[in-house]
Amino acid sequence: MTVYTKGVVFDGVDFDDPDCWKLDRYVKRGGYAALRKIIEGSISQDSVIAEVKLSALRGRGGAGFPTGLKWSFMPRQFPGQKYLVCNTDEGEPGTFKDKDIIELNPHALIEGMIIAGYAMGISVGYNYIHGEIFQDYRRFEAALQEARDAGLLGENILGSGFSFQLYAHHGYGAYICGEETALLESLEGKKGQPRFKPPFPASFGLYGKPTTINNTETFASVPFIIREGGQKFLELGKPNNGGTKLFSISGHVSRPGNYEVPMGMPFAELLALAGGMRDGGKLKAVIPGGSSAPVLPAQIMMDVTMDYDSISKAGSMLGSGAVIVMDESVCMVKALRRLSYFYYEESCGQCTPCREGTGWLYRIVDRIERGEGSLGDLDLLESLGKNIAGRTICALGDAAVMPVQGMLKHFRDEFLFHIENKRCLVH
């Protein structure tokens, strides 16, 4: 697998060095300079937040919410404990960027979280890590210990009087815990079932206390923004789409991997960077933002640029930046069947429309795939979608519906062929 960077999250990382994750290597490439700059220059909390706002950094977990704005929601004068939480529960099919951040550059995340803690006056943080990447959980714990031993983390950081404790917490196999309130429930030792919002975590979060939750890549972008300035980060990307972004490219490309490139890079260029199509295949379709994002056919994809606004205009979403590339050997009915099974399996069971609806979606797509579908099934899928989306506590219901809608919009003929001919057009 390839990891490629134009700098920010993986700024200066030598991927061939097996010790590239260690503290001494991180410091050598400018690590913890941002933290020192804040502490030694006594930069105010407001100035740190203003710099993050200037950068136009948007949440890298999928929702794309402006990070500086989120930080400004945190009550500064709250008398009790407040919490900072990092979401490394990366389980959206197609996404594997946060895994590489904590494996190859964990200190960027640690430094970003310390800075965030400073900016919002928070003294305790947790990083919730996807259970399946347990080796990386261990790696992150080792990096935390290095930071503690060097006086960069813990009590009285660098003699500043500011203290910040940071701990790793692991999941154990539940996609839903990537949803921020399910993650908080899980962190409290419960089933990961999402909470009603409002109240939002900024007022009622972990243990009922004000809490800010950001994605791994978001936090790991912060040291660069403070060190080099928000303006420089912004200029790497496009207006309203600041900085670089990590794109996890999987599927039928020659070099799958993580590519950190400026926001707004044309998709065609990104595809070329990943070595183009594998074995000379022809591009059929792309899911541009993780399995929940509606699929886009090749001719639309080849015209989009990789940023929130362009992909949204094309009828899909950038999401977490997971780009699933499919060539003409892929049967779209079979592809959707596998994704629908995933949402059925991972629904937490709390809301009826999602618990029951995801099962219906899967069973209908499954029978179409097996050649046992009827023409009415396509209308049934549409109507089911309308009865799930927007009717559940969290977005998993919507996430299950969007791939179905995208497939029916762009590849309806393949579904019709399966129903009418009781076999697949591709295989």
Binding site: M1, T2, Q81, E90, G91, E92, P93, G94, T95, F96, D98, K99, Y126, H130, G131, E132, I133, F134, Q135, Y167, H169, H170, G171, Y172, G173, A174, Y175, S186, L187, E188, G189, K190, K191, G192, Y207, S248, I249, S250, G251, H252, P256, G257, N258, S291, A322, I324, V325, M326, V330, A335, R338, L339, F342, E345, E346, C348
Partner: protein, 157 residues
């Protein structure tokens, strides 16, 4: 029921959370118990509940919600293969089929000698390394072509 070492590890986890929030350590405690005993029996779940001062049902709920906890004995080597779409495009299903043939078992079964069990997993967040096989929940093997699977199996005792 658990060794002193396992209890020591649970105590370390407890230090991460506020004194009044011992429940937060339940996921780690179950993971540590499972690593020692191989799976989570109802007695083990009750023991963990007692150790953390929780209702057994609260711990049972967690053990049944998260799919990496094993509520029945499994093979000495638990092999979980991701077959989700991104992995399937890069040989995830082929890896699972190869393991089925090689071990002569289906998904959810244990080999007659008790050494291997085979499981189908959901997204492990490592699609770029497909095909991916997770061994005993904690060790991820990447790029598992048939040859790589053969050498992996040869390394187990």
């Amino acid at each position: 029921m658990l060794t002193a070492d396992s209890l020591f590890q649970i105590d370390l986890e407890l230090k991460k959370y506020p004194e009044s929030q011992k429940r937060s350590a339940v996921m780690s405690a179950l993971r540590i118990a499972q690593s020692e005993l191989g799976w989570l029996s109802q007695d083990t779940i009750k023991f963990v509940a007692g150790y953390l001062g929780l209702m057994p049902m609260a711990v049972y709920e967690v053990a049944t919600f998260y799919n990496m906890y094993d509520l029945a004995p499994r093979g000495k080597y638990k092999l979980t293969v991701c077959t989700n779409l991104p992995c399937a495009l890069s040989g995830g299903e082929d890896a699972l089929d190869y393991l089925k043939r090689k071990l002569s078992i289906s998904i959810g079964e244990v080999t007659a000698d008790g050494r291997f069990s085979l499981h189908e997993g959901e997204c492990m967040g490592a699609c770029g390394y497909a095909p991916v096989v997770l061994v005993n929940n904690h060790s991820m093997c990447r790029n598992m072509t048939p040859q790589a699977i053969d050498s992996m199996l040869a390394e187990f005792d």
